[in-house]
Amino acid sequence: MATDSRQKPDNRRGANRSRSLLSDQARSYLGHHRKVARDSIQRMWRTPVASAMTWTVMGVALALPVALLLLLTSLQGVSAGWESTARITAYLAMDLPAEDARGMAAEIESDGRVVSVQLVERDQALADFRASSGLDEALDFLEENPLPHTLLITPEDSARSAEGVQALVTFVENMNGIDQVQVDLGWLQRLNAMTDILARAVWALALLLGAAVILVIGNTVRLAIENRRDEILVAKLVGGTDAFVRRPFLYTGAWFGLGGGLVAWLLIQVSLWWLSGPIERLAGLYRSEFTLQGPGFDGALALIIVAMLLGWLGAWVAVRRHLDDIEPGDIAGG
């Protein structure tokens, strides 16, 4: 008696028939998804201002952590670049003769951890300093060259870790005739430590704002559920499954996510364009190759997919909490 109305009386038989029945069902299932997806977009267009506001809230909430992540990636690029050019500068004792300095350079260069050693003799150093500092006249007042011989030591790749460089520094310091050894890793380590902190802060912020996005979408979808209460009741009455009833709201959440992702991408692109000039100038002053990297195509795609997932998740939370409350128990009156 409980006839399945999806079964059509037809003259096909056996496996052929059941296969076509399955493909019919798959087609109508997909057709329904398409219809619901289109319908939930159209509903959004019908309230353009409210929808745009939700998109913007989402967009801002997403753009902030993403922009910080981009900044972080760019900064990490900077420190990585510096690490690969880390050099040790050894200042020799003032009274060391040039031949001894050359001998020391050769000795250090023979060490397996060192690629090359460049000796800058004190006369050369003064000439360079004169040329680059613009303190020409002031230097003329000096009775003698205040600069020592200097060794610029470039470590082997394998010795470029913080420990490797430290070991090399200790080795050079212990040689006779060395006055002072400097390595530029100090500020690099500080920068690394700072980017580590920044990274954690950014991820914490991203988590918080992601949660905020879920709540915003959840609330928006909750209102949508309230607005469509009658429809939900009727759908449940005529035998709509939970999945059927949830579907339009999950799509609504995903579309809000799409809109929010696009707004976020737009905000990021505009800020990049706005910041790129000043950053180039600043980087130029530091003679740095630093540029603020945009998200690129992959990044934009990832951003939009994450936004859609967050929207879907927010809708799912709302649907879980509110849809099951709507049961058609009250409408059979009397």
Binding site: M1, A2, T3, S5, R6, K8, D24, Q25, R27, S28, Y29, G31, H32, D230, E231, L233, V234, A235, K236, L237, V238, G239, G240, T241, D242, F244, E327, P328, G329, I331, A332, G333, G334
Partner: protein
């Protein structure tokens, strides 16, 4: 088709809506369900639609025991039960056609199939020409007929009606009862809950009478 075995429904408080109700409706049978306000008519209908579960006893629809039915199976049972409400429960944000199509939509019927069946149902209730209108533009009687078309569009074996003629004049009521009779003639089990004694007397059909949650008449072996 519909069977109640010693069905008792007690709500949280001391309020007992149904007490040990027994009856059996056959395929193609048309019966009335009557009784004073609060006698348990709605509770009885809700038990058939699995909106409520009995406290004791068994409700069996189409050979399926509803007591043990898991929650996720409920929609599939409801697809076999058409329901007509006094207040129609039509949706005013869509056309008559789309309202009637809802039971087919939840089943995943193809668009061609849907179009064919919706028009057949609308033709049956005499509203074929109004498929593109909004239900708000229709009269009370027409709205009720749209509700009926929606209830029967997927050819359910069971049709329940809760005060279907509540707001209608006698002539329109008679029209609607004629429709119900036609459905029962093609094998649909129809159960109509109503206050309308005149209507019941006119039809001269089996009548289940509830009083304080007890079935006081019509509970015996089916027959007129």
């Amino acid at each position: 088709m519909i069977e109640f075995r010693q069905v008792t429904k007690r709500y949280d408080s001391d309020h007992t809506a149904l007490r040990a109700v027994n009856f059996h409706l056959d395929r193609g049978e048309l019966a009335f369900l009557t009784g004073h306000s609060g006698a348990g008519k709605s509770t009885l209908l809700k038990l058939i639609m699995v909106m409520e579960r009995p406290t004791a006893g068994e409700v069996i629809v189409g050979g399926q025991k509803l007591n043990s039915l898991p929650r996720r199976q409920i929609p599939y049972i409801r697809r076999h039960i058409g329901v007509v409400f006094q207040n129609h429960q039509l949706l005013f944000d869509r056309t008559v056609f789309d309202n009637v199509a809802m039971p087919l939509e939840v089943m995943g019927a193809s668009p061609e199939d849907t179009g064919r069946r919706v028009r057949a149902a609308l033709d049956k209730v005499g509203l074929l020409k109004k498929e593109k209108m909004n239900p708000m533009q229709l009269s009370g009687g027409e709205q009720q007929r749209v509700g009926i078309a929606r209830a029967v569009v997927n050819k359910p074996p069971v049709l329940l009606a809760d005060e279907p003629t509540g707001n209608l004049d006698p002539e329109l009521s008679a029209d609607i009862m004629r429709l119900f009779t036609q459905f029962s003639q093609v094998g649909v089990t129809v159960l109509v809950a109503t206050h309308d004694i005149a209507l019941i007397n006119d039809m001269n059909r089996r009548t289940l009478t509830l009083n304080q949650g007890q079935l006081v008449a019509g509970g015996g072996v089916s027959g007129h």
